[in-house]
Symmetry: C2
Subunit: 661 residues, 2 copies
């Protein structure tokens, strides 16, 4: 008789396992570090051809950890013939917790206790493993430690003289068939009876099944991961302990089912009585240098960089949801297609903030080229983009977005948006029609339109088209040390019947006209404190995202600090969704302003939108060519006459005492 | 007799002339489009060797416009022997004004009128020219039109049979000497007398000088730009008209001084009586295609792109000064050397805003590498910077600044700033000493230090060094949807004796300690709404610039809306210079907060700064290694004991009625 020894188990996580762990952590667990159920598989040992020496060599089976470990749908299947294992998974939130000995001892003991407790039930857990991890999702480095807790038998078990011997092929074949018939894919089964007429039962039925069977004919067969001639694999330890302690077996024959013709058999004695004290468990996997310690999987170098970037970008966003804002609908934000009219200072900063929010579809429209003064203020351009007359801004901005993040879908169009009061020469009518059609289809294809141009009148056409199509319009305009950021109201088709919010033109009582000719240099350049643009752009993007998160979307009312306090649950999880922000940098002040829609508005009123819908390009050409058309259409001209008339009776006093007159 | 014809003048602006115009416009005129005096020079015609045909050909002299045209100090001197011209310069603010015929007619006539008016004085202006321009400073395209208004003589002047003939060398030599002796470098002079004994006088003295001189011996000599054998140059027209109309000369001999041996001489008759009506003037230069029209100088392609960028960056800034903020001291801003501790989200955005303000010296300190999640949030990094483990962030950020603007002086240093509560192992003492020394010298070399790190305790060391050296410290920190931007007070050496403002640590009653270990993933990444960083960064830079512009600089009091109203002239031209800004994005709100310095502050109190000054690195090592040292030093530990003692007598009621207890 010699002491019975067991070959320890080794774990084999596949790369897709780590990917599954990523998803579990980011999307489900977040900061939850409680124990989770998980699955794995156990392979029998195999024989492989030894190229060097000829003949075959044995290779141990591992515990395979795959993409389906956490119950996700997965294309990855365990190899045929492998045993299903159930386990316990725990991911620590910090490397320090992971490294602490105490926490790992605790969970190991708790798994051991649950194994012992299961012995008292009708479903003993004999194949339970443990995996603890710390996942550095920023670097794709995974610290992990696998354990298969197994009882230490006291006194030690022994194997009969001669040890394990080759098992007869017929017995092996019969046992395999019986195992398949039992079809529980568990690790071990009981076998009895004469050759050719053998029967099987699950381990839990040992007492009844082996009743009256001579001890020499009681066979415990199991799928064996060990390839060592004299040592069975680790998992049978708990099986034997269970049979000894719960079913009183003091000796059995173990049949180690191994692949090919390498299965082994032998008789073992399980001397008793077992100690009354709680048994101890062992089973932490050794690391690559043979020590008891955790392992590290560094997937960074083997991952596709573009995919790494993709996941990394999502990471920061998902982290927001973890602790702070579980109700945040990131997918809704990410799915918002954004059209940026203008690729200047505002356009560049807006695009960057949109990328930060995970928005993947960004289209620029701009007809200008990158000039030397741009790069220090427009954060998508470099000095070299200015050379040789300058690259087209829209395309250059889109190209840069791809350099920042290859996963973005960035498009560019270079054309000038037709404007009221900028007459179209007859030779240019076709080109203007094409530009209008292009803008119409672009707005139709996107969910949100940003007005980021440097003139008042260029915002008119997208305002009308947006109001007609019910698109979200976010408008940003810069002053010297002030800015306006606003969302346009929902347009004349507003759904909820509430008070309709105004657009950029609702406060005007004159129609937009040519303000571009006859400008001095400081009017041609946007003269503004350098800090204004990033503040306004970031605010514009945050306003869009807040609006997208609001349950009423484009129909959300203009919120103020007091309105939100009344019914916070009905609003956006990101906070207030105001109508207009007016910022003043010299005072470090931002005013939240609400402006109602104006029924004579030249941009979003029903009159204008209806005329556009009815006559399309013909109506638009009138607007471009005829300075007075819009004011006539909306009745603003009449209003002017009325107010002039009202003035007539008044005599202005000259030289009055009021100096501030 | 044949009608006397004149060779029209051509203008020849040098590239440095346009550069001088740039400076005049940007720094002095701004939007002032009033008429300005200017200077030019007129060259005599030259003979040059004709390579093709052999022999010499004549080349007209031009009106040279150079870098000294507007009275600036200039290395450029008019060519030897050239005549000084005085002129009138007018720059239009818009291309439309420049192109309008009326405005140009007006100014031409006004110059002609002033020429005529000068005839009645003792200093007739016979050489006055006019230059009108429109300068597109963004593109370096200059529209200009030169004129030399000259009288149209009615009836026409005539030249005697035979026209101009070669002048005798002796006469020419004598006339040149007399011109030099007159040393007024004007275009024309009067000469009389027999060969070898000739004398000269300025044109204004004609009546007296030619008294009794036979008309055939009255010589008008002038430096002649014409190279045509039979036509004198344009400028002599006004001389002849002046002599005829004011001095009653009806015929004179003109001596056209030309270079080499090509001078010409001839007798002209100036028939009278001159009409009583106001004479008409002509003299607009023809353009390259021979039409009366303006010319364009496009300097863009010939300029050094790096210099173009340099000027373009300044342009936007200078434009601010034009209309809006004449008192802005851009040079003071540009000269501010900035040290950015941290090249992450904040560092990248801060650097961009600093560049926008024209700041040319930016140094980054960061020990991290660019990771995949960075580029969409950190606007100095691209995807490719993440590959192969990532580039060092500080160097990568500095390199990018140079790509944006080659004129920047961007430096990078990769080291970790030692921190309180992060003990230094004995083997690491030398390295820590080196890091401290590096940080000390960097802070000493810069004017402003930005604290843009992602932990609380890493801000401690630069806070203490900055307080000791009296440097401006701007601190920015991000929350999930909030931010803090503040400037530290002037430190214990504050100059003006007023209330001292606090630093980042002045509100704390515990010393900074290790907060970096044991962090969960969302704590390791800065989880923040993407719009927060650009807003906070831009605010931090605007706060710095406002502070630099404040007459009290680092000693400026914490301003609020009401304090500024009292004495706006004593503050920064950019508006309020608050102490702290606390922004809350969910409310779109920014609070201006003032916090006084705390005499037990672990960062900026006199106790701490004095201990640092006295013991230097030894004191710092105690701080890093001994968690309790700072609290003992400042007496915070005593404070804790006192407050604990004060609590002793209090019995806490459990189960009290107050639910919000």
């Amino acid at each position: 008789m010699a002491p019975l020894q067991f070959q320890p188990l080794s774990s084999q996580p596949t790369p897709s396992f780590w990917s599954a762990l990523n998803s579990l952590k980011l999307d489900k667990l977040k900061l939850d570090d409680s124990e989770q159920p998980m699955e794995a598989w156990l392979e029998e040992s195999r024989e492989i051809h030894d190229r060097e020496k000829g003949g075959t060599i044995g290779v141990s089976g591992s515990v395979g950890l795959g993409s389906g470990a956490f119950g996700q749908e997965s294309g990855e299947r365990p190899p045929a013939g492998s045993v299903e294992l159930k386990g316990v998974f725990k991911n620590y939130n910090t490397i320090e917790e992971f490294k602490a000995t105490e926490t790992k001892k605790e969970i190991f003991n708790s798994v051991a206790d649950s194994i012992l407790a299961s012995f008292e039930t009708n479903a003993p857990q004999l194949d339970t493993f443990l995996l603890v991890t710390f996942a550095d999702l920023k670097k794709y480095i995974y610290h992990y430690w696998f354990a298969f807790p197994a009882v230490v038998s006291k006194p030690a078990w022994e194997i009969e003289e001669g040890g394990l011997v080759a098992a007869e092929d017929q017995l092996v074949a019969e046992a395999r068939k019986l195992a398949d018939d039992l079809s529980n894919r568990s690790g071990a089964l009981l076998v009895r009876g004469p050759a050719g007429q053998r029967t099987a039962a699950p381990v839990k039925d040992a007492t009844a099944f082996f009743e009256g069977v001579p001890s020499s004919e009681r066979i415990v067969a199991f799928h064996d991961p060990s390839h060592l001639p004299d040592a069975p694999g680790w998992p049978v330890r708990n099986v034997l302990f269970y049979l000894a302690s719960k079913h009183g077996l003091s000796d059995v024959t173990i049949l180690c089912l191994r692949s090919g013709s390498s299965s082994r058999i032998g008789r073992v004695s399980l001397p008793g009585p077992l100690s009354a004290e709680k048994p101890t468990f062992v089973g932490w996997e050794r690391n690559k240098i043979g020590k008891l310690g955790s392992r590290v999987a560094d997937l960074g170098p083997m991952m596709d960089p573009a995919r790494l970037a993709d996941q990394a970008v999502d990471l920061n966003l998902k982290l927001m949801r973890w602790r702070i804002m579980p109700s945040l609908q990131l997918e809704k934000v990410a799915a918002t297609k954004c059209l940026l009219l203008g690729a200047g200072t505002l356009g560049c900063y807006v695009a960057r903030a949109l990328m930060g929010w995970g928005i993947r579809n960004i289209t620029f429209v701009d007809s200008a080229k990158v000039s030397y003064s741009n790069p220090v203020r427009q954060p998508l351009f470099d000095f070299e983009d200015c050379l040789d007359g300058g690259k087209p801004k829209a395309q250059c901005a889109a190209d840069r977005l791809k350099k920042i993040f290859p996963g973005v879908n960035a498009q560019a169009h270079a054309f000038t948006i037709p404007m009221p009061g900028h007459p179209v020469p007859s030779t240019g009518t076709e080109a203007t029609k094409a530009d209008v059609a292009k803008l119409e289809s672009l707005i139709a294809e996107h969910d949100a339109v940003f007005l980021l141009m440097d003139s008042r009148e260029s915002r008119w056409l997208p305002t009308v088209i947006g109001a007609s199509l019910g698109k979200i319009i976010i408008n940003a305009a810069l002053g010297y040390d002030s800015y306006l950021v606003m969302r346009h109201g929902a347009g004349p088709d507003q759904q909820d019947g509430g008070k309709r919010l105004g657009c950029y033109y609702c406060n005007d009582i004159v129609a937009p006209a040519d303000s571009l000719s006859d400008r001095t240099l400081d009017q041609m350049c946007t003269v503004t404190r350098p800090g204004i643009a990033p503040i306004a752009s970031a605010s514009a993007v945050e306003l869009l995202v807040s609006l997208v998160q609001h349950p009423l979307g484009i129909n959300a009312p203009a919120e103020t600090a007091s309105s939100a306090e009344q019914e916070p649950s009905k609003g956006s999880p990101l906070g207030l969704v105001p109508h207009q922000l007016r910022g003043q940098l010299s005072q470090w002040k931002t005013l939240l302003i609400e402006g109602a829609a104006y029924d004579r508005c030249t941009g979003c009123s029903k009159i204008v939108v209806d005329a556009y819908r009815k006559d399309g390009i013909d109506m638009l050409l009138k607007v471009f060519n005829d300075l007075e058309y819009l004011e006539k259409l909306t009745g603003l001209d009449e209003l002017h006459r009325e107010s002039e008339k009202a003035m007539e009776g008044i005599e202005w006093e000259e030289g009055s005492d009021e100096e501030d007159f």
